[in-house]
Assembly symmetry: C2
Homo-oligomer: 248 residues x 2
């Protein structure tokens, strides 16, 4: 069987997230599986690198599927560009070894979260950022990013009740970039628990606003209690930038 790897860009605004729910047309996975099944004439199950929440976007989601279809990659790509809705774009298509698995083989991921920090909200791009009016302490946020970096048990920074599996993850880096009114927070790590980026982001902002101290981050790592962390910021500021399959 052929194993096809897709890189997918999507605007999550209209969708209930990545993961297929029943036969709903309202999920990215559901939409893609429908089109891939039409393309191949087979019932296709698409394996994504992981879920994204309702309203969250992706620049580089990765998925794969197995098929006996013998169409060329160009034909397949053209079919996707023609039949997918305009807010889902397959940006790359490749044939990969049969053992490749988009979820199991992922070694790290990068997410970006966009915060508009200005006196006034913007009429534009409201589905692509979160607006913050309060003063933010850049140095305190830098320190918060550093405290969150490294290998920790992130259970307190997730929406998981509890977990039988390990909730230890390694955050390689959290970087902040400011361009005019927009702050971009770039999170890179070997894995992220449910809602973890959005809760880390809420915590960094809470530190920036002076509502929390940097030391409270260490307390949350120890206590592992989600209520101690910052709010879960809205999904629409979040982008899955890319999924990496070999250490760079």
């Amino acid at each position: 069987m052929r194993n096809i790897k897709l890189i997918i860009e999507y605007d999550g605004t209209r969708y209930q997230g990545w993961q297929r729910l029943g036969d709903s047309d309202k999920t990215i996975q559901g939409k893609l599986e429908k089109i891939v099944s039409q393309l191949t004439g087979e019932t296709i199950e698409l394996i994504g690198s992981g879920r994204t929440d309702a309203g969250t976007h992706a620049r580089g989601q990765v998925a794969n599927f197995k098929t006996n279809c013998n169409k060329s990659l160009e034909e397949m790509h053209h079919f996707f560009l023609t039949y997918l809705p305009k807010d889902i774009v397959v940006t790359s298509i490749d044939e990969v070894p049969e053992r490749f698995h988009a979820r199991y083989n992922a070694v790290s991921k990068q997410y970006s979260y966009y915060v508009r920090h200005a006196e006034l909200p913007s009429a534009f791009d409201r589905n692509y950022h979160f607006y913050v009016a309060e003063p933010l302490d850049w140095e305190a946020m830098t320190e918060a990013c550093l405290r969150l970096t490294g290998a920790h048990d992130f259970l307190g920074f997730s929406a998981l009740k509890k977990s039988k599996k390990s909730t230890v993850r390694t955050i390689e880096s959290i970087e902040m970039e400011k361009e005019e009114a927009m702050i971009r927070f770039v999170f890179r790590g070997d894995g992220f628990l449910y809602k973890m980026v959005r809760i880390m982001m809420g915590t960094i902002l809470a530190v920036g606003k002076g509502e929390m101290t940097v030391n409270q981050i260490d307390d949350i790592f120890q206590a592992k209690i989600r209520q101690a962390a910052g709010e879960t910021v809205p999904a629409q500021g979040l982008f899955l930038d890319g999924v990496f399959y070999e250490k760079n």
Copy 2:
């Protein structure tokens, strides 16, 4: 009476354009007049610098209204930020001399049109640009921009059938900037006829694609026939950047 000048930013996606149609809630002017009337307790007519089409955006539309309301500018601004829909933002509010008229006193305007020029469309920002896949000849487009610059009868570049008023306008400059896949065309002039920016833009792109020659632009100025010019590009790529009331 007090004369209040507003600078307004809006995302035109959800609206039928600037100009009020009956008592429709679907126009920017209609929405604003409703809120201004609630604020003042008077029936307010808002004077805009000019219309924008359905789907067209503004970063700096200017409007004014006369009122006997004695609320402070801060109170007014707060009211607008609270009660206007999130895709209409009053960015500035000022009290101006009674003779100021947002339309009659405008001496020039700036519009930007955004073209995504790349191999693939983008899943994002689809309401803020027009996607072009074909090769574009940058030098030919530069020359087309120069030919359109200056004082000309732009009747052939407008959607007006004919006009009793002068259709001569002066385009001060048309500049092209490219940043990654996005080309921004910046039009500055003393006035623009109905759909004139979008038809000029369609003509520049037709020259860029090699479908028209630069010399045909002079022919259209002479013949004044709209059919000879390029297509009317979609409204969603167009932004009214600002309106100027004194020569800079």
